[in-house]
Symmetry: C2
Subunit: 360 residues, 2 copies
DNA sequence: CTGAAAGCGCTAACAG
DNA sequence: CTGTTAGCGCTTTCAG
């Protein structure tokens, strides 16, 4: 399996195993000369310490666990990059686990962490998660847990989120200011605080603008794509159809656009859209999409940094703190004030005689 | 750190440690009654074996390493999902490492694997990787390596790719058939076989259609977004500008669209675009994007399955095989034959008098 | 400064 | 069927 071990190095150098071990870990007990010899041979023999022997002995894995519901999503993939970037710096290894939004899977994964497999955990809970025992259980065993994005507020630890309430508020305010007096909110699991906070912001903004909220303005989406698509279509066909719509997560954007396409509803003329999304393609959508851009990379980075603070100082208990990194609303054509958007203008303009021939 | 250990269980049951261990691993040597007792107590005490003690002793980590250049990319994130799905089934853990296209990082990561940290490796090489010693070195130590997508053909192991040559050929043929007699290919690193094969397909298609290839039709992109954007813009402004363009990887799509927007080049009227991409938003781009859809999830799944075949049968050497899962060309508006696309038609049609007032 | 020795928690021969 | 025992490879007292 592995190549050389510490015993072989010791024998070759006529040193004891203990001395070699200390030299490799740069112990103050060892003379510079010996260290040099040892390091040189280790290099020559491509020696890498067996991590499992080392972990067993030191009760430290140099590994963190990252638990997320999904990875094929621009938020989570960027967050993972943020996490990875600081883990690499610290020489840590990153175990990634996907829950696919299943609470049972999440529980099973965290239960396994009980074994000491990881020194700390970064988690963004599933949309089905309805209890925090699996988390607190881990924390009680002195394995620090830091939440990012999808948090459980009842658990007393560090939580990195974006300003969900404000973002929901701003998205709604933006749509109202662009002329929508009837805005719908596409909600995902009402177990998730990110969803609920965004929705609270939405409600508050309506209230502040003296708009009353009807039940039909909150559209409960699920994890079923086809179902969501149908729900959105139905909403757009209702008598009191919305003029503006807020997609509370990225994956709800395509069904909105597609429903509009199918129904011939024009964005932004007949429906204005804002989406929580970090997609790089927002800018080149048809029409370009107004987004609430979450600081995904930064959130991952920050969460990891805080986790390592706790891991490094053995008994430094994580404060019960809420770290909020603001999102940015980037206004684009999907919420433009009744205008046609730029490219369409050009196209229409340039080909106006073609159009006549073809369409009129 | 961890909770109970096997010693505590043994003591509580008045059994030897060995017996408990065997019972937990469901050894044939142990009576049903004892197994039941042991399992019951293990459950009650939430016993999870220390993975590192176990790994050390068995020389088996139940962990695989996944090495990719990037995760915020629809191909890689879906491939990781495919890998994860089979790893979960096998009860394996997945260490994810990002190389950020750095060869040095890739080498360092694989060198670490030399320690026995993982039982097998799935790798998609960086665009800078110019040598395979770090891979073969691992294989020589009996750690199986399977490539997916970005492979090194010189290394004798299993490789899962899509039909890159054919895809490049088909993309080009498609553009030619849609009326482009001058097609440009956006190349990334010419170290990568996926790039080169796609490019070979491109060349062959030109050849088969009696089109000659000028050097300027191959645009060498890098990892620098801004640079790529400028390169593309320049190409579009040349005298012999291309009428069709093939983006060999997903991340080159936004700069193409943005360059067109900035220059007022109309897609697909003046430039037709095909991109290697799995983006779910391809359908709602402006205009919707013709893609070569790679079977990302399936490739990851397949690669993992093959890797596990080798891991399971201790000394089953992986065959030097090429497994090719075909991509699909999905024609959309960005390569349409000179027509305006659907939504634009509607918009122009519906608002034709508005247009007159505003634009003419 | 170096060495000897105990042991992390588990597994697997081997004995009974 | 159960128990005993010798390690896996490394770290870390403790002695010298």
């Amino acid at each position: 399996m592995s190549g050389t071990n510490i015993r072989a190095l010791a024998k070759e150098l006529n040193l004891s195993i203990g001395t070699v071990s200390k030299a490799l870990r740069d112990s103050y007990e060892i003379s510079a000369a010996t260290k040099k010899k040892v390091l040189a041979l280790a290099q020559k023999r491509n020696y890498i310490a067996n991590p499992y022997a080392s972990s067993l002995r030191r009760k430290k894995s140099n590994t963190i666990g990252v638990v997320v519901p999904e990875v094929a999503d621009s938020f989570f993939s960027h967050a993972i990059k943020g996490i990875d970037s600081v883990a690499q710096l610290k020489g840590y290894h990153v175990l990634v686990y996907l829950t696919y939004e299943s609470f049972a899977k999440e529980q099973a994964i965290l239960k396994d962490f009980t074994s000491g497999r990881v020194d700390g955990v970064l988690v963004s809970i599933s949309s089905e998660t309805s209890d925090d025992a699996h988390i607190t259980n881990l924390m009680n065993r002195n394995i620090p847990v830091v939440f990012f994005d999808r948090v459980i507020h009842a658990v007393a630890t560090a939580k990195i989120t974006t300003d969900d309430f404000e973002s929901g508020y701003n998205a709604t305010k933006h749509l109202i200011e662009q002329g929508c007096d009837r805005v719908a909110y596409l909600s995902i699991s009402n177990q998730l605080s990110i969803n609920n906070k965004r929705m609270e912001g939405f409600k508050e903004a309506l209230h502040d603008h003296k708009l009353t909220l009807k039940a039909s303005q909150i559209i409960r989406c699920s994890n079923n794509e086809q179902e969501n698509y149908q729900l959105i279509k139905k909403a757009l066909q209702r008598k009191n159809n919305p003029y503006g719509i807020i997609a509370s997560v990225e994956k709800l954007t395509p069904p909105v656009y597609l429903a509009c396409k199918e129904l011939g509803v024009l964005i932004p003329k007949q429906l204005k859209v804002v989406s929580f999304s970090n997609l790089e393609t927002a800018l080149i959508l048809n029409p370009s999409l107004t987004t609430i851009n979450q600081p995904a990379f930064e959130m991952g980075e920050r969460a990891a940094t805080i986790l390592f603070k706790s891991i490094d100082k053995k008994h430094y208990k994580l404060k019960n703190e809420n770290i909020i990194i603001p999102s940015k609303l980037i206004a684009r054509e999907s919420s433009a004030k009744g205008r046609l958007h730029f490219v369409q203008k050009i196209i229409c303009c340039l080909s106006i005689h073609t159009l006549f021939r073809r369409l009129c």
